[in-house]
Amino acid sequence: MKLFEFEAKEILKKYGVEVPPSVLIKKGEDPLAKIKEAGLEPPVVVKSQVLVAGRGKAGGVKLARTLEEAVELVNKLFETPIKGLKPSYILIEKAIEHEAELYTAIIIDRSERKPVVLASKYGGMDIEEIAREKPESIIRLHIDPDVGLRGYHARVIGKKIGLSGKALSSYSRFLMALYRAFMDYDADLAESNPLALVGDRVIPLDARIIVDDNALYKHPELGERKLEETGEYTEWEIKARKMGLAFVELDGDVGIIGNGAGLTMTTMDLVYEYGGKPANFLDIGGGASAELVKTAVGFLFEFPKAKKIFMNIFGGITRCDEVARGVIKAIEELGGMKKPLVIRLSGTNEEEGRRILREAGIEAFTDPIEAVKKVVSL
C-alpha cells in the first residue's frame, strides 16, 4: 500500500526528522483559515496528495507567493485530476530554499535478498533518470539483515554523496530514521526525492513509503486505503478486486482466464503470438471452485472490453470437472452465453470436464495452440 506524502512525512517526523512546516487541507475545509492557524507564511508549495507517479510533471505541485495565490491553487488542485484522479487532500508546505537536491531510497534487492540503500547527489529527478544520466553518482549499500543499518553506514553513504561536517551528521540521522520507517512499516520502498540540503542540514521535500500488502495486518493504525484513492487501479480492476479476482485490465479485445499467474501470462502471450490482443489478465489460481469459475466467467461477460473469451486451464490441483461446472453455472445463472467462449481444458479430470461441457454444447480444446487460433479467428 502506498502511503500519501503527508503520511510518510508524519512517520519521518515521528522518528525525529525535520520536515518542512506544513498544513494539510481536507476537501471541504477552509484553506485560508487553516494556513493562518498553522502560521505558515508564503512562499508556500501547494501539493496535490495523489498516489500516482509523476505528480509534479502532471501539474500537481505549485508554488504560491501570496496567501491568496495559495488559496486559489488549493481550490484549483482539488478540481484537477492527476492521471484521472482528483485528490482528497492538499498539503501546503513552507517553501524551503536549498543549495542542493539529493536522492535517497531504501528498497529490497531481490537477488541479493537484502535491503539496499540507493543514494545520489543528484536528486529531483527519477531514479531511472539518474541511472541514465549520472549512473556513476548512484551509491549502493546492501544492509546485512543481522546487523541492520547503523549510524556508520549512513555516514559512509553521506560522505560518498559529498556531505561532511554537520551536514553529514544531519544526513546520517535522516537515513537512520528512513531505515527505521522502512523496517517498522515493513516497507517495499522508503524514499525521499528530492532531499534538500539546507546549510548544514537535510530536509525531505518529498517522501514516499510503500508498505508490503502482506504485512498490512501488522499496521492497523494505517487504516484502509480505498482502492479508488490509489490511482493504481481502473474502475474494472477495482470491481474485480472487490469480488476477489486477480484481474488486470489491458487494451485488447480477447478476455483471458487462466489458472496460475505464469500460465495466464503465457496465455496472453499466445494470443498475441497468433495475432490477437488480450483485453485482460485474470488468474483463478490453484484449486479453483466452480463458484469462483462462475464469478470469473460472469465478470468477463460484463467486462465491455472483452468481446470474446479464452479460458486456458491446465488441471493440476485445479480439477477440470469443477471448472466445467463453473462455466455451466455462469451460463445458466447469469443469463446465457453472452460472448463467444473458447475453452482449452487439459489435466486432472479432463475427460469428465470435457463431457460436462459437451452436454452444454461446448467443445473444449486439448491443444492450447489450436484453441488460441480459434479464438483469434472469431
Binding site: R113, N214, V248, L250, G260, E273, G286, G347
Partner: protein, 293 residues
C-alpha cells in the same frame, strides 16, 4: 539420481492438521513420499492419514531423527516461525508453500537459512518433485515421469503444463523445482543450476522464467561464464504484460525498467540458450538439445 530430494528423503509436514496440509499430506503419501511426522502447535497426539502429529519440531525430530526435510502449510502470519523452527531442527530442505508472507520476514529467514546451510524452496511455491521417488509439494504427480530433464521454474501451473508436454514426448524429469513467485525466494535459479550441474542423471535443463527481477539474467550469466555446462531450454512468461502492473505473482512486475521480457530473452540468447516462443515448443527444443549433445 535427483537433486535435493529423493526416495531417501524423510519429510515432516508443518501445519499438517490444516485443510491444505491434511489434503496434500494424503496426496503426497499416495505418490509415495515418506512422511514421518506432522507438526501443529497444540495438536500434539493427533494422527493425520496415519501420520503422527507433534506440538513442536523438536519433539517430532526426537521421535523421528531420520527426518531431513519439511514442507510448510502454516498460515502466513505464523509461517516464518515455522521456517525458523525447521531450520533449527536441522532440516536440510524446507519447502514453503504458504503465500502472502511479508517480504521482510522472508528476507530474514532466507538469510538465516543460508547461514545454517538449509535450502529453502519458496515461499509461495508448488514445491519439488523427483518423479518416481518423492514429491514434496502440491503439484499433480501424474504429469511428471522419471527421465533426464531437470526443471526449475518460477511458475506453478505453467510447470505442470510443460512437464506434461515433456512427459508425453517421452522426456521424463530428474527433478522439477518450483522456486516460487514471490519477489524474494530461498533457492534461486542459479543455486538450483549448481545442483543440476552436479547431478549426473540430468542431461538437460528447462528453465521457466517470468518477467520481473533478474534471476533469468543471472542464469544466463552463469551459462555464459561456463559455470553451467548442460544444454538449457528457457521460456519466459509475460512477454505482453504491461510495465508497472503486478501479474498475479508479486514477483512478476516490471519496475524501474528492469525485469523486462526483452532484456531476459536477450541475455539468455546471448548466452547461447534456446528460448521457446511458446511452451509447446519446449519438448522439441529439449530433444534437439539432447541429441546435439
Amino acid at each position: 539420481m535427483a537433486v535435493l530430494v529423493d526416495e531417501n528423503t524423510r519429510v515432516i509436514v508443518q501445519g499438517i492438521t490444516g485443510r491444505e496440509g491434511s489434503f496434500h499430506t494424503k496426496l503426497m503419501l499416495e505418490y509415495g513420499t515418506k512422511i514421518v511426522a506432522g507438526v501443529t502447535p497444540g495438536k500434539g497426539g493427533a494422527v493425520v492419514h496415519g501420520v503422527p502429529v507433534y506440538d513442536t519440531m523438536e519433539e517430532a525430530v526426537a521421535e523421528h531423527p531420520e527426518a531431513n526435510a519439511s514442507i510448510v502449510f502454516v498460515p502466513a502470519r505464523f509461517a516464518a516461525d515455522a521456517v525458523y523452527e525447521a531450520i533449527d531442527a536441522g532440516m536440510k530442505v524446507v519447502v514453503v508453500i504458504t503465500e502472502h508472507i511479508p517480504v521482510h520476514e522472508t528476507l530474514e529467514f532466507v538469510n538465516y537459512a543460508k547461514r545454517k546451510g538449509t535450502v529453502i524452496i519458496g515461499p509461495n511455491c508448488p514445491g519439488i518433485i523427483s518423479p518416481g521417488k518423492t514429491k514434496i509439494g502440491i503439484m499433480p504427480g501424474h504429469v511428471f515421469a522419471p527421465g533426464p530433464v531437470g526443471i526449475v521454474s518460477r511458475s506453478g501451473t505453467l510447470t505442470y503444463e510443460i512437464a506434461y508436454a515433456l512427459t508425453r514426448a517421452g522426456l521424463g524429469q530428474t527433478t522439477a523445482i518450483g522456486i516460487g513467485g514471490d519477489p524474494v525466494v530461498g533457492l534461486t535459479f542459479t543455486e538450483a543450476m549448481e545442483l543440476f550441474e552436479k547431478d549426473p542423471d540430468t542431461k538437460a535443463l528447462v528453465l521457466i522464467g517470468e518477467i520481473g527481477g533478474d534471476m533469468e539474467e543471472r542464469a544466463a550469466m552463469m551459462v555464459k561464464e561456463g559455470r553451467f555446462t548442460k544444454p538449457v531450454v528457457a521460456f519466459v512468461a509475460g512477454r505482453t504484460a504491461p510495465p508497472g502492473k503486478r501479474m498475479g505473482h508479486a514477483g512478476a512486475i516490471i519496475m524501474m525498467g528492469t525485469g523486462t521480457y526483452e532484456g531476459k530473452v536477450k541475455a539468455l540468447e546471448e548466452a547461447g540458450i534456446r528460448v521457446a516462443r511458446t511452451p509447446m515448443e519446449i519438448p522439441k527444443l529439449v530433444r534437439e538439445a539432447l541429441e546435439q549433445k
